[in-house]
Amino acid sequence: MSASTDSFLERAPIEARDWLVQLLPAPLQWFTHHLITIGAILAVFGLFFAFTTVAERKLLGRLQNRLGPNRSGLPKFSALPWHLKHKLFGLTQPFADAVKALTKEDIVPAAADKLLHFLAPVLVVAFSLLTFAVLPFGRNMVPVDLDAGLLYFFAAGSATELTIFMAGWASRNKYSLLAAMRALAQVISYELPLLLSVVPVVLVAGTLSTNEIVTAQGGWSFGILPHWNIFTPWGFIGFLLFLVAALAECNRSPFDLPEAESELIAGHLTEYSGFKYALFFMAEYFGLTALSGLGVTLFLGGWQAPCDFLPFIPSYVWFMGKLVMMIVFFIWVRGTLLRLRIDQLTRLAWQFIVPLALINLGNAAFWALTASWAGPLQLVRLGVSLALVVGPFILLGRRLNIGRGPRTYRYATS
């Protein structure tokens, strides 16, 4: 590690934790070490969640030519004469929402499975928080540096779908059950493409450890072009597939079939109110944040700075910046696209994403095998890899739409 990348700000969080830990007697040190990490993750991502919700509402508003929430300000202390004008752009909205959720009545349907109905929101938050454990938030800042970090991530992440099924089943409500079925169909269809879009990264990096995958993406060509996976042909298409699969994994628009407010009156959330509802909501955003964090780790170089001269900015700032950009993109997509039908959802997964991801796996294998090519052969390598991306994309995309449009309307005019 060079001295320039080891500035005070870079080391500060880790050193503060180590200083706190060494104050305690030896038997408590291991425990405290992890407790501080957990506390930091909960505090940072709890606040991050709060402001993601308000950012989402404001951004969605702007994307649709509305204002979004801009009313909630500070509590109106009568000592402040300017309080009426002091609305803080509605930034305190999540805290008002939290108070509202906490004070609402908690209703459990009479026919519900009481235990499962209670467990589902608890577990969904627990599972979605587990995934944060293996994300490298900065240099030396991975909470648990597992050798099989990626496997752990997907194991914990896909368990959240189980809790959605749990919630749907326990509610004893037809809409909830339909939502649970849809969630399962979705998880079966999209867990595979998600994994397949990630495998090329593992193949090229040769490791399952998230920390080492980030380290492998370090370095720059000509000082400005970082060696991130997204800047390779297979990485680019892999990232796109990952984005689609991640959207489906965290049940966000356009893949929000399990929620589907207009069809299933919020699906598995129908029978939840008050703070349990807020927990589901929270878990959804935690899942989104974790998957975005994984996308950043695997394809966008994790905490690596984009240019040679930028590493004086601490690595965790880079990570959070990329994370925010990913989330803004997800919000942008939500503000743009319509919800898919369940048949469109599964067709897209099995007829387009899975074959493309499999071809991409071969592409990554080619890329890994030709790593030693130099000189003009590098251009050949790039060309072959690009052809392996663009060709299948166009051919598969064409096949996907054969006989399916443009749609004609028999009765509606224009």
């Binding site: 951004l59 508003g61 702007r62 994307l63 649709q64 030519n65 509305r66 204002l67 942008w332 997509v333 503000g335 743009t336 696209l337 387009f352 994309f393 166009i394 598969l396 995309g397 064409r398 996907l400 739409n401």
Partner: protein
């Protein structure tokens, strides 16, 4: 190519996003308590009673307690008590006036029938929409004093209709004045004739006929 539609869609929303900061016409949201809505002239909420002046609303009410509105009101939300004495109305004619005029706005359905049938242009529809009260019985039952609004206020909410009403009332007043003048003139002529011909006893009948011709013309 697959995905081009998605990119087009993303471009549209991105345009919306940027435009929402720079093009005020895009935003349809009214920041209500700060920005008051501009109501169309024909917007109506609850009835009001027009008085000629703002200084003495009770003395100059146009209402003559004819009770037509009370009888016609479909949900029966108007209650009127007539006075025992009479006061001159807008056209100078002696008329009754309402001692009690109450409208229960919790019953009123804002149909505007009362304003349409009032022959004295006294009851009109207001445009006040912030009518919340802390007491749902007494707070929503508006009395004569609460209902009375000046003609100037009526002009401010419905300029076109109010100008029309004013013109009509002015014409009526002029006609009434002309009629009174003609009657006075005829009376004077009759008195003169009486004085000139004290012997002519059976004169009253033609004299009584004399003021009549101008009245249809008026």
């Amino acid at each position: 190519m697959l995905g081009s539609g998605i990119i087009k869609g993303l471009a549209v929303t991105a345009k919306n996003f940027v435009g929402s900061y720079f093009v005020p016409e895009r935003m349809v949201t009214e920041q209500y308590p700060e920005d008051r809505p501009k109501l169309p002239e024909n917007y109506r909420s609850f009835p009001l009673l027009v008085s000629e002046t703002a200084e003495d609303p009770m003395g100059t009410l146009r209402c003559v307690a004819c009770q037509i509105c009370e009888k016609e009101c479909p949900p029966q939300c108007i209650y009127i008590e007539k006075s025992k004495d009479k006061k001159p109305d807008a056209t100078g004619k002696m008329q009754l006036y309402p001692v009690v005029f109450a409208i229960d706005t919790s019953v009123c359905m804002s149909c505007g029938l009362c304003a349409e049938l009032c022959p004295f242009d006294s009851i009109k529809m207001d445009q006040v929409f912030e009518v919340a009260a802390t007491n749902r019985f007494a707070g929503l039952l508006l009395n004569r004093e609460q209902l009375a609004k000046s003609n100037a206020y009526y002009h401010s909410i419905r300029p076109v209709e109010a100008a029309e009403v004013d013109a009509r009332l002015a014409a009526d007043r002029q006609a009434a004045e002309a009629k009174a003048k003609a009657a006075a003139a005829a009376k004077a002529a009759a008195a003169a004739a009486k004085a000139a011909a004290p012997a002519a006893q059976p004169a009253p009948a033609p004299v009584a006929e004399a003021p009549k011709p101008p009245s249809p013309a008026a």
